[in-house]
């Protein structure tokens, strides 16, 4: 990690991106495979489809940069920590997880590694990120605070208040709007009284960057640009990034039979699936099928191993219930 010039070795970067993409994807595939066993008793808001954003943004960040995110953060968390042991322990609600299962899928939190927590109340973590950025500046740190949120968050007043605050105070905040066009099942046409969020935000004192690519490297490059802008202009940057949510809003299944969207749309996005895309790119860049398979196998084993450890681990005992309410 560490914020540094883009590796001159583009291949190295692309391998790193692929490793994280594949980890995020396969961890979720593993959840899908095991969820019906009813041992992971936590509502799952799956990342599948957004991996390029999670991996692309996170891979630019330095160790002291901070991330605030949402209930839909599997990919972000894994891209940041690559710690599938902790991830699965938390999914299974076990004592061996850092949070001992108190958080679950919606509330991962690992402040020591800059993953500062999430909110499942839409948009509620955004102002917290702004406050964190204020602290960073006040303390003379040269760090960035990233607020990840969905397009639905822009409906909430607190988004506008937070945007205004960050722009007013010229804080080093990177707003990352992960736009999948939906809030649960509600399309933007039923939620937005405007044509373009980017056009509106660009009238605030900040910079706006837009992208529809599912190529993690493109997102990576854009994020580097964003962070450079934040530092150069002492202004926040708002990134508007589109992706397609593969699965139902909450849960591990597809839901193209529900009627609110078509499988055809999905099939189109699948053509540019972020994991496949990156894999193909590696192959095109001269990485051999064997090399890639080696990476994949390693991650498959890692996940399998994490999953097994999680299953075998004990639950926290009752004393944990009221521990940590106060400092």
């Amino acid at each position: 990690m560490g914020f540094s010039p883009k590796p001159t070795d583009a291949l190295k970067l692309n391998l790193e991106l692929y490793r994280k993409l594949y980890l995020a994807r396969q961890a979720e595939e593993s959840i899908r495979a095991h969820y019906a066993e009813n041992e992971m008793k936590t509502p799952m808001h799956m990342s599948m489809g957004e991996e390029a954003i999670a991996v692309g943004v996170v891979s630019v960040l330095g160790p002291d940069d901070q991330i605030f995110a949402t209930y839909r953060s599997h990919a972000i968390y894994l891209a940041r920590t690559e710690d599938s042991d902790d991830f699965f322990a938390e999914m299974y609600g076990k004592e061996t997880a850092r949070l001992k299962g108190k958080g679950g899928s919606m509330h991962m939190c690992d402040p020591e590694r800059g993953f500062m927590g999430t909110s499942a109340i839409v948009a509620s973590a955004i102002p917290v990120a702004v406050g964190a950025a204020f602290a960073s500046r006040k303390q003379g740190n040269d760090t960035i605070t990233v607020a990840f949120f969905g397009d639905g968050a822009c409906d909430e007043g607190v988004f506008w208040e937070s945007l205004n605050l960050a722009c007013l105070m010229k804080l080093p905040v990177l707003f990352v709007c992960e736009d999948n066009g939906l809030a649960v099942h509600t399309p933007q046409s039923l939620r937005q009284g405007y044509r373009s969020i980017a056009a509106i935000v660009s009238k605030f004192n900040c910079q706006v960057l837009e992208e529809t690519s599912t190529d993690a490297e493109v997102i990576y490059d854009l994020t580097r640009k964003a962070i450079n802008l934040i530092k150069a202009n002492r202004q926040p940057v708002f990134m508007h990034l589109q992706y397609y949510r593969y699965l139902e809003h909450v849960g591990v299944n597809e839901d193209f039979d529900a009627g609110y969207r078509s499988r055809k749309e999905f099939e189109e996005w699948r053509q540019v699936d972020p994991v496949n895309l990156q894999r193909k790119k590696l192959l095109g860049n001269g990485t051999s099928e064997t090399e890639i398979a080696k990476i994949e196998t390693k991650i498959d084993r890692q996940i399998e191993n994490s999953l097994k450890k999680a299953k075998d681990a004990p639950f926290a005992n009752d004393a944990e219930l009221c521990r940590g309410v106060f400092s």
Binding site: K100, G101, K102, G103, H107, D155, E156, L190, G251, L321
Partner: protein
């Protein structure tokens, strides 16, 4: 005619009947017209009444509460639905500073026939941001009515009462109740707002248990009855207006009271129930009042801790035994948590 309906079906029927009866009734909120229809409670409304009477919204709880107020002031009867009471916390300003005082602020000239439905309490691994109830904070505001239907019968009858009421009414529905079934008349009817309901008569202990806790209390009463303890279970049904009389009268008879709530205890509704006893019949209490509810912590996700977070029938039984000074029963043959086991998958 009476049929066996689930709680969700009872709500749905109330909505269909009232929307049919009165053109001014409309339903809005995130997800009300979608294929999930707020756990089935709003299913079919958009198809039947059209998208201008059952419609989806932006995520904007604060303004949409004010929106409902503005519509209600003009004679419409809005029903704003929240999939989770936790989201209603974004609208506390509108409720406390606007909705609850608008009639007073117009010296009675303006009516506010606004209904807010919100799902409360335990679901399934939902953690600390999708499990709150907090009805005491709404009950604390004069000018609001707050009800907690606990049976399919009350779900229909109290929702119809709420819709026809010219005042703002918050209807809070416990997630686990959606799967409970019971007898529900087919024709529209009202259940008056502000009357407690004695679910089970008994002479040894009064258990005051609202919403889901009434299911736990009935279970506890059944178990205790087998062992010769007669428990009276009272469902307050309404946080505000609050029928303290029924509860006080019962405790005057039994001399003992357990209050079992779906919420934190401190400054909660359970405190108001206990306060009513301190105000009206302290000398009739044979033993101190006991309150049961959420553990004093945010709600954890993992199941074993979640099980300890919520009070349940076993806790009620243990509290009753302590109060009566009897030995703990062997409960190994009993089946508890039937709904928690039945309930699976998110939300």
């Amino acid at each position: 005619m009476t049929r066996n309906l689930s709680y969700r079906e009872a709500i749905n029927e109330a909505l269909v009947q009232e929307m049919t009866r009165d053109e001014s009734v409309f339903v809005y909120g995130i997800g009300v017209p979608d294929h999930k229809g707020i756990f089935g409670s709003t299913s079919g409304l958009a198809e039947h009444f059209g998208s201008d009477r059952c419609f989806d919204t932006p995520l904007a709880e604060d303004s949409l509460t004010g929106f409902g107020l503005g519509a209600a002031l003009n004679g419409l009867r809005p029903i704003y639905v929240h999939m989770r009471a936790d989201f209603l916390l974004l609208a506390v300003n509108q409720l406390a500073n606007m909705v609850s005082s608008y009639t007073y602020a117009s010296a009675g000239k303006l009516k506010v026939p606004l209904v807010i439905r919100a799902v409360i309490g335990r679901g399934w691994g939902q953690g600390f941001q999708h499990s709150k109830s907090m009805y005491s904070i709404y009950g604390h505001m004069p000018g609001l009515k707050v009800v907690l239907p606990a049976t399919p019968y009350d779900a229909k009858g109290m929702l119809i009462s709420a819709i026809r009421d010219d005042n703002p009414v918050i209807v809070m529905e416990h997630r686990l109740l959606y799967d409970v079934s019971g007898e529900v008349p087919e024709e529209p009817y009202t259940v008056p707002i502000g009357q407690a309901h004695t679910l089970r008569p008994g002479g040894d202990i009064t258990v005051v248990a609202a919403s889901w806790m009434s299911v736990e209390a009935i279970k506890a009463a059944e178990v205790l009855e087998k062992h010769g303890v007669s428990v009276e279970v009272i469902d307050p049904r309404s946080v505000s207006p609050f029928d303290s009389e029924t509860i006080v009268a019962s405790v005057k008879r039994t001399g003992r009271c357990i209050i079992a709530d779906n919420d934190w205890l401190h400054c909660g509704f359970s405190a108001e129930v206990a306060a009513a006893l301190a105000e009206h019949c302290p000398s009739e209490l044979k033993s101190p009042v006991v309150r049961l509810g959420y553990a004093p912590a945010p709600c954890p996700c993992t199941r074993p801790l979640e099980n300890r977070f919520y009070a349940n029938a076993v806790d009620i039984i243990r509290a009753a035994e302590k109060m009566l000074g009897t030995n703990p029963l062997d409960l190994s043959g009993e089946e508890f948590y039937s709904y928690e086991h039945k309930f699976q998958g998110p939300f």
